[in-house]
Symmetry: D2
Subunit: 339 residues, 4 copies
């Protein structure tokens, strides 16, 4: 097992999927510790053991000087590392990682010294329910450690390029300590407020993203049916008050071109921010609105439109701009039904 000094210089990483894989790579190749305390080591865990093996093999060639240790559980990671990053795609087993029994981070904290516990800072980059995240953070605090919610935006492309935007909620001193670590993967790291504020910002932004995408799809479809050429309409919207990120960067109409780069709509909606993940965030927003009594009629309507797409083989794994295609099909059949 790692000595105390080693633990101070070790960063744990839990979750090496499509996103985590790239994030770890940027961490290993770009992170510089604030004070020179020797070589940083990394303690890795994923439920899929092969993912860890593959990462370790890759780095043994690219960065042979950096120690990468394979761990058997979140508990094991927390024994090795004073800073722990987690990136878990879905919230289902998320509690288990931190507070769920003898393989959890919490169980490891209980075996450590007071000094080690208070030196432990967890940064969770997953997008999960705010209430669950806050509850777990408070449990870890009771055990002497701390947790920041630090969800990311930018998708797989941003993870690969190290240009994610990271929204952080939690204690200000913990945030200050997290910045050099998170900055190695990001173009922007923002302190949004107390525990849960990072998740709140992420969910609010993605709620608005879903609304503008579906709204744009409806507006484009209506304009087209009323006789405007889609390219002309897209150009008008983009120099007028309807413009939004989706209209400028990720236009959902296949025949429209709005920049030098081709959006997913130009390639059958492959790639991008997939529908099932977009819907996951919308569902989190709707649930949070219910808890807090926020009226969310538009948000709820958008979530309901995306729900069947997220459950459908045809749409779930394509970019969320595919909602335009779904809507167009719906409109056509409705139109036919009228005849």
């Amino acid at each position: 097992m790692a000595s105390q000094t080693d633990r101070a210089n070790t960063i744990g990483f839990i979750g090496l999927g499509a996103m985590g894989n790239h994030m770890l790579h940027n961490l290993v190749t770009r992170y510089t510790p604030p004070r020179d305390g020797g070589q940083t080591a990394y303690a890795l865990f994923d439920v899929n053991e092969a993912a860890v093996d593959s990462v370790i093999k890759h780095h043994s060639i690219e960065t042979p000087e950096v120690p990468l240790v394979k761990c058997s559980s979140p508990h094991d990671v927390a024994k090795h590392a004073s800073i722990i990053i987690s990136m878990v795609p879905t919230g289902k087993h998320w509690r288990d990682v931190y507070v769920g029994g003898d393989k959890s981070v919490l169980s490891a904290l209980r075996t450590l010294s007071d000094t080690e516990r208070s030196a432990t800072l967890c940064m969770d980059e997953s997008t999960i329910e705010q209430s669950v995240s806050k509850e777990v953070a408070l449990e870890l605090r009771s055990a002497g450690a701390d947790l920041l919610d630090a969800p990311v935006s930018g998708g797989v492309v941003g993870a690969e390029n190290g240009t994610l935007a990271i929204m952080v909620g939690g204690d200000k001193a913990s945030f200050d300590r997290s910045v050099p670590v998170l900055q190695s993967m990001a173009r922007k790291v923002t302190h949004c407020g107390d525990l849960g504020a990072g998740l709140a910002a992420k969910i609010a932004n993605n709620l608005l993203l879903g609304i503008t995408m579906l709204g744009l799809s409806e507006a484009m479809l209506l304009g087209k049916r009323l006789g405007v050429d889609p390219q002309v309409l897209a150009d008008i919207i983009n120099t007028s008050t309807g413009r939004c990120w989706s209209s400028e960067i990720n236009h959902p109409v296949p025949e429209v071109k709005v920049g030098e780069l081709s959006p997913p709509a130009h390639r059958g909606y492959r790639g991008g921010f997939v529908t099932k993940l977009a819907h996951k965030d919308l569902a989190l927003a709707v649930k949070a609105a219910e808890h807090t009594g926020v009226p969310l009629s538009v948000g709820r309507c958008v979530e309901e439109t995306y729900r069947p797409l997220a459950a459908s083989k045809e749409f779930a794994d394509r970019d969320f701009s595919v909602v335009y295609e779904a809507l167009d099909a719906l409109g056509s059949s409705a139109g036919n039904a009228k005849l």
Copy 2:
């Protein structure tokens, strides 16, 4: 009555309200005829006679060299002028202006020569139902004249500064003839396609505008209740995928600052694009979607939210971003109801 030569050099203007007043002013002071055919004259009509008198008095001082003639009806305008511009705020009596009996433009056309009729081009800058506009345009075509739908965006500020965006539907040759006239009031004049395409573009853009404003309001309210500072959230959205015209220029949350200029939210939502006009455009979109079988679930939801506000003394004449205030109040009472 005007001679044929005079008629060729005369532009008629029907509707001198809050918008039309400024548009006429820019027309008179900035318009240059494509070929030099002598001084352009203007034939003016408004149901409110005093508005015409006031405009004529003002210009007798500012531009004494320009002939401005007061007309007694749209019929009278069409006798004097070969180009006719109309800017009528609501669609109610709109048909009357063009095809409604012996005071209409159509009735005047019937008294004119073939040459005069075919030289007559109407440009309607009002925002009305597309189906009505197309129907009237076809009637005028039967009588040998032509009509373009040419709705504007930019509001009273754009009308005053001559920086409107004008979206034009109709015959290409007629459009080419309209450009120098419309350009005197606009920063951008776009040919959107055949008859009705101008209205289609305007309605589609404003539908999206309403959706993004309400969506932004929901997202801001949710984020705030979940503990993010509104300014922090606004800054995150504006450098992320949620950004839209409303978040960048016309932010609805009073405590948020997003540019050098204060949006209506900073002054009790006074001024701007008033709720009753915003709702009018949403209602046009919903109606058009019904006619064409376009699924518009988000659009319909937004129209329903704005409908009671547009009918309320408290909200109707304030900027449409006031929906945030309404939503916040609703959320608070709902929240209280839970206690």
Copy 3:
């Protein structure tokens, strides 16, 4: 004289000119102290006594509950107030305010207790030479107080609307203390780094602003002479790689329209960011580049072009986009000279 408690709750303001006047107004009406320590008072000084009287008279009606005290010198301000804001348009007498003899802030610090001295935080919002600002800050530190450089951008409009951007250099703890104060006048308060970093950011941004404005003017003039319509060229640039703030918001060519609002070019270049102030910032950039050995060939060329304009009655007090008019005149005479 003020008691120690009073001093803790008093903010001093030095310089009530075109900018400072509005900034103080926003401070008085919007500032909320972080911890409730009773009513905040304000101690005011300007070399122009009438400016102070006028502000005090105005606020005796608008905010009668807020104590505003007229001071006889910066020394007097520092006796009354623990937080001192200065906004002095030119750097000429700037040193005098802080360290120049028995009327200065420094002379007052020497009469105060250790506790009072260490509680004293100065925020200078002027745009002056970085080396001078740093030197003075170090002198104040030696006396136990602290100073932040906190220059603003946004002009008189931003000052009036409370939507300035403030760039701050200095100690992080001092910055944290300044935020609630500065936020009352600003849409954005950014910590740029150590002493001088605020001025560095301001000067670098305004250097680039001057370069893009003159570059845009040259490009527009060249395009026009080569036969492109200026509006067409402006629209192309704004949807292409040449776009910049000047082309999108403050276009220098009078016949071009690029948004709903009219830029200064539409009204004879009245208002806006006046040429003499724009040149002042360019001169600061050139001087700083000389000190630090930064090659600044473009910046120097722009400064040289603006220098005679800033010294000319015709141009000095008009918006800096007037450089287009000057260039156009130059081009015409050069063109003629060739004949």
Copy 4:
């Protein structure tokens, strides 16, 4: 040889280099003739015969139904095709293609019927000297054909994605005829005015692009030397008046991240808009300014800075943002020289 009917349905393409290659591919796969006149054929020429062979081989698999004919000269192309597109990287042999002897387009026109000649429309997408282009266009007009200058922006990425912006100068009727052809390769096709106006717009935009890139580099370098963190400065500029396309999309400072995508600066300035081509456009601007008596002091200064880089092995083939690296090196050595 082709029959007259075939010639009407054939499009010629001269220049299948890095850009032309992709442009032809989009033309072949996306172009739809306005009226159904049978299958469109393509007549191809490049000085590099292997390039033509490779294109024909590729398309014999991807689009076997489309006839692609290999031609032996521009003359041969003009015999086969009524529409001729040229995309020639440098202007050196450009005149030869159109008017230079018995292998030129002009020599072929002389062998054709009046009807065939007047049906011939050339679209030159190269970026060359405006005066040369206009002169050649007039020669072709004398021979009964027409030429449009139609330079593109968007680079190899835009050519590949079919999202170029094309700026067109020339006769309006010829422009209308060119739109469906050019649209197959572009996101935007704009009529800029008479002969030469397309080149004027392209050159003016790229002049401004060069100026903003070098200006941004100077501003970043100055700010950095004065103590601001480059990322902080980049973020300030991008929410302030210094923002421009280069600061938002193609930032030249390697340690700065400004979007989800990595600019060339992140990969050693590989790819992008290479320095030698950027300098070529700047040199065209300076030359045109001399001809027309336009004062271009900033533009000339930028051209002079890029000139040695465009001639250097180290810089010529890297993205033009590499000027930051060159400047930084210069600054360091100058700084050292001072010691």
